[in-house]
Amino acid sequence: MILAVVGGKGGVGKSTVAYNLAAELDAVVVDADLSMADLPGCALDGGSDARRNSDSLAGGWSRGPDLHDVLAGRAAPVEAVRESGPVDILPCGRSLAGARACDPTALVAAVEAVAREYGGVVVDCPAGLCGDVGLGLLAADVCVLVTEPTPAALGDAVRARALARELDAGLAAIALNRSGPDAPTDLVAERLGGPVTVVPDSPRLADAQAAGRPVAAVAPDSEGARALRRLADRVATAVSF
């Protein structure tokens, strides 16, 4: 089962949702943002969080093939999956030269190959509605829309929803991120045509993501962790993950 996490607008929390969904669903997360990778992909073996953080900020990147190598034909997709971190991840390189050397259309076959080997894959799609998002959706069976209760984010989510429908990626769930109890869930459900899970603005969630760990491992009883568990349950009931 391949799940694409899309949203249209940047900065709405797609990567955080994708990473934590992969943790909950025991799936491999693929960082499909070829030019602006932002998943906690260091996945350094051992070491403290502090070290992991500092390495991450300094651009430290554990050695091994990444998605750039896969899409340039230098590595097999399964070889590039790293199992050393808290979540299995197929990280993406961070150099623009690496991104330019890729064949983005190879993403579909790469993701499918990982799904064959590991079962579940969560594809963290980039912002926008360019070809890279379309390729992630094309590979996916279903999608999760991540949005925020702002006009700009909702407008982009509507467009992402239309693209997902066009590419036959059914809507498994909608994550309304950084929302409070008075979030316009009915409006979002109406405009996007699916059930809405509210994910509160949670510092624990942001901290966990910055530390490169799923929130369930850091603060399992936090509101953020509970919301993401609900979202994962929703996805799991919609599709057999």
Binding site: S35, A97, A99, R100, G131, G134, L135, L163, T197
Partner: protein, 274 residues
Amino acid sequence: MVSLEWDCERADGVTLVSLYVASERECRVRIANRLDGPVWPPRRRGQPAVGWTDGEFTGTVPADGRLTVGYATSAQPAEPPAEIVSTGPPGERDDGASVAGGRLADGGSETGDSLAVEETPAGVVRSLGDPVVPRDCVPVPDERTGTDRPAAADGSEPAESERESVQRDTERRRDGSETGRRPSRPPTDRRDGDALLVPGAVRAWLRDVERRRAAAADARDVGTEATTEHAADLADAAAADRRALAWVERRIDEVTRRTDGDEVTRRTDGEGVR
């Protein structure tokens, strides 16, 4: 005979209704919601998908006799969630456009406002744009690409001149690093690895000079009558190259002196040069 089956799923305050219409032959159906709540139809670009008006769906069951329709609502599930309110022969839609099979039912890929993305990797890129990073974003390529130099691969390239290597080393020293990221430097051949710091045009010219010099030497050694004229041409070309090289050498020295001077000034200002 047209029959309707359904499936309702309730989650987080939203009921998702899936309808399966079966018919023995192609026909037109109108389906109305029977749940006590608003109908949230699928939308394209913010508008209800083709076939949906005022909470009712109108579409055509294709020749294979099967049509699926779905919508969402805030109402609680009930039996039946929807009903077929009328059927008729396939034909013209209300807006006059011809009905073209089942795809119309799921939102009308035939309409002009649909994205109509071809469902292949190449089709996606054609429709949505190639997400490749623009070449101008990559002024200095990744060092790792230096291993697959095309020039080295076929072995036909003469060795780089010493001057070129020296020049490259000078540049490296000046940058204080191997990669020497200088955005102002013109883009060069990304695949050319460690020769990146010299613009491609300069490298190509130097290679040509080397080739002409070698060819001129060969022609002189052979020395047959037939080749004499050709050898003279090559000798003229090699002489012109020498004059050009001398001019370029002076020019390089001049520019190098000037940039070294800039460097010294900046270092004494206490600002590190990257």
